[in-house]
Amino acid sequence: MILSRGPKLCNFLEWRGLKVVYKRYASLYFCMCVDADDNELETLEIIHHFVEILDRYFGNVCELDLIFNFHKAYYILDEVLIAGELQETSKKSVARVIAAQDTLIEHAKEQSNSLSNIIAQATK
């Protein structure tokens, strides 16, 4: 439905009493489905906000980044939206949280590495 629409048309599509708000970035489409009287432009900018955060995180985000790091995209999405509502409008704030998560994971990894080293040495 969205794919068949030309580039010069508006970003909203009415569908079963709801509205689909979508935006195309190169070969990627981002879509959100909202109630018929939600603010469409607001929703459109939520999409852009999310993309900007992705961009900042991955550094010029592209399709492959998202495919191979789909879990990261999920982390970020969870920081932007909860229950379908916008959670954080500050890019910096999101970036900080994600960075903190990454450190936590790295930290855990190091720990487990060192742990396995110890085990490896002990079993030698």
Partner: protein
Amino acid sequence: MALSGMRGLSTFISDVRNCQNKEAERSRVDKELANIRTRFKNDKGLTVYEKKKYVWKMLYIYMLGYDMDFGHMETVSLISAPKYPEKQVGYIVTSCLLNENHDFLKLVINTVRNDIIGNNETFQCLALTMVGNIGGRDFSESLASDVQKILLSNSCRPIVRKKAALCLLRLYRKNPDAVNVDGWSERMVHLLDERDIGVLTAVMSLLVSLVAKSQDAYWSCVPKCVRILERLTRGQDIPQEYTYYGIPSPWLQVKTMRVLQYFPAIEDPNIRKSLFETLQRILLGTDVVKNVNKNNASHAVLFEALALVMHLNAEKEMLSQCVALLGKFIAVREPNIRYLGLENMTRMLLVVDVQDIIKKHQAQIITSLKDPDISIRRRSLDLLYGMCDVTNAKEIVEELLQYLTKADFGIREELALKAAILSESFATDLDWYVDVILQLIEKAGDFVSDDIWYRVVQFVTNDEHLQVYAAAKALDYLDKPAVHETMVKLAGYLLGEYSHLLARRPGCTPKDIFDVIYDKFAVVSIGTKALLLSAFVKILLHSQPQDPDLRERVLEIFKRYECSVDAEVQQRCIEYLTLCAKGPSMVDIMAEMPKFPVRQSALLKKAGDAERDVAEESATKLRVQQQNSTALVVVEPQSNGAGPPILTPSAAPVQKKQASPSDLPPSAHPAALPVGNGHTEVSAVTAEDVSVPSLPEDPVTEPTPPPEPAPAPSGANLLADLLAPLAIEAPPGYAAPDSIVDSSQDPGPSAGTSGLAPMQSSGPADALALALYDGPSTKVQPIGSVEDWFNALVIKDSGILYEDPFVQIGIKSDWRGIQGRLVLFLGNKHNASLTNVRAVVLPPPHLRFKSSPVPDTIPPRAQVQCPFDVFCLRASRETAVLEFSYNNGNIPVSAQLKLPVLINKFLQPVTVSANDFVARWRALAGPPLKLQEVVRNVRPMPLIEMANLFNSLHIGVATGLDPNENNIVSATTFYSESAQATLCLIRVETDPSDRTQLRLTVGSQDLTTTYELMEYIKQQLIDTPPPTMVSPNVPTTIPTNSELTGPAALLNGLI
């Protein structure tokens, strides 16, 4: 970018991406799924790392669109893992793979709760996020209070608290009890003081949902919201990171204005002033800029501000400013803005009275109907539909018809329906309406539903002037090659009925017309064939003298289809053959259909249904509902010119004899209009129209022409039954059970005399005593006598019920059988809104009321209509009481008003032959079925006046039945749920020498009815009503206990 060190996962993703086709992908995925399945089976050897990896793989496969029917347990179990990385994967994948009803979620509620109330902040975040995304009722019940605590806590960091706010929002949506309204509203006020914009945004989202359900509790949030909005628009005190393309958090601005849209107009002048200043700043300060995102964000705010301005019912000046802005928007190149411009203009139509300004943009809107973008075309269609009225209907409908041929399939049906509705609603002449529908069928026959052409038939049948035109047009259209089947149906029907009116025109002999119709006969469906068969027989029988050749051909068709497999077609053929054989005496049977009762357009109903959708309640919708639930809020009566009366509010089909006053659309009819022309409609029903003796729904009330020796009414009835499917929507009384009872009781049309009771009686009818009982608090006095108004309404169906300096209550009613419909017209005469409006009916035990809610507020100079349906359960003289109250400013006004729902409203006079009357009279042996009493203290009146009184009470008078000219005899049917239709016979014997006394005898098959009717008539006749209505000699079998329970009785006890 590091791939999180999960080589297996990246390899799998690359593999899948390298697949050449869908099959290869599926086999790769299947292989992986089998692998994961085996690994999960011997779960022992699985390290946490591996488990995590497989779970991610599952999510990836799920994302590709494959079903995941295993592994949920493993995923969920990761939530219980002690370390962050595993927990995180567990939470995130769970919220993607499982939905809120999944049983496994119950298993982890405890773990989740421990994470939420624990002191590890990161765990709290994960848990809140998952619950916020997929938490269901179970979660809501066990976690709501913990989540509330976090949101209110001072020690938690903003990052946790904003998640808690949204999590609570989810829990509230799943279970409104999650937030206790009483205690919570003050906390919300407190939360709005939050300095962290992230938290504030989340809190505002929560508030939007809360006020959507119960705005009253959250009034105290309004000033805060206004202040926040002011702060944002001024850009005060907003951290840099919360500005978006230079705009201070547009999202928060939008949400704040959303909250304000749920509250009715703000009273406090200071707050109102500052809000309007802020809005003004937004309206004026938004410019179109190059940067798309900045533009979008600023316009998101602007459109929300427009919505708020509309809602607040701002000054005219500001509103026209808004319309001007919208007018600019619908002409810009940027499609999003154009779309929104159209959308908001449509909303504006709903809310405020700016039609005229919007009409100036009509040309531009019509241009948008041709936009390449379907979204925009839809909006434009909606707007055109909304803004259409008598002045621009022709132009708009023309445009719609033109567009119809080019429109995409998705939109055609809607388009056709809308064009049909507009043309019928705003037609200045009906010829044009017929043209439009015929064009509609020609251009988009597939999309024209049956309802649309049924409607044409109704109009044509009811308007004699239209019939010739419609028949001629139908012939033109049918005579074209490749005609749509719907056209064949409509044209076939119209020609069958009315082609004889064309007979003098060249090329319109019955035979020509037959040829044109027969030309299409072979290619249409069985149902249409059946319809055409009826048309043939009508054409044949209408032509005098009959063309033998035509007769030959028609009969040949009937014979051919005599053994059709379709029972309907077969039956018609056999009957029509017999009918034709009987010769010209049968012509009457094939006469034109009688007029249809005026009724609500099925199309409007359909359009209403189509517009209903499933979305969550929202400010606009709520507002529309508030208006709809109590029918229309008519701000000023619209002139709908010569438009056909179709917007009848009555649900029940109305009988003709009552048709005139109450069936006109309310807009054309001030509430307090006296019943004037009760007869005109009836007298317009000429003998020709009703010459099918058995078709009228209630033969007695129709002026039936005296039929010749009568081919036995029962035979005609049978025929009517057979013809019924042909009558597009058979006259309504037809299948209704009450009319069956009715016809079994009345002796048929042979009585001949007009059973029409004059609706209007000038006879004084001092009915019941005091009808208004002012409470002690009432300072506002009615301007006029409530009692007189009530008494007038007893014998009329519309009039004033109550009027004081601020409000006028009009009433209009329709009665049919056991049910009636009352419409209260609450008109605010004042220049300020009336608030706290309540209109509650206290029904006595014998009546059942179905009411719709009354709006809380009546805007200045507006009129609100409140329909009530009434059902009569059994006979009783009591009536219902309307408790009406409102506040004018701070002055409460209340009144208790008797509603004119008395026993006589459920009566319908019947014409009975003398023999029949006597037989029935004798069958009623005596008490309790037949009661007799000498009534004294009768208000002296001439006999003719008494007869008029009886007629106006629907009791009716059968003249000539009683040889003694000092007596009045009448027969009437009383309708109630318990006794259905009860025939009541009444005889009044007067004494010419003493007009103050008479002997009254009432009889019926139902003892309650007999007794109640007797008492009721006595009340009407006696000069001053007795102080107590309960007469001492109540027959013991009558349920006397119900006598004093009704509210009206209680009221009587009070005085």
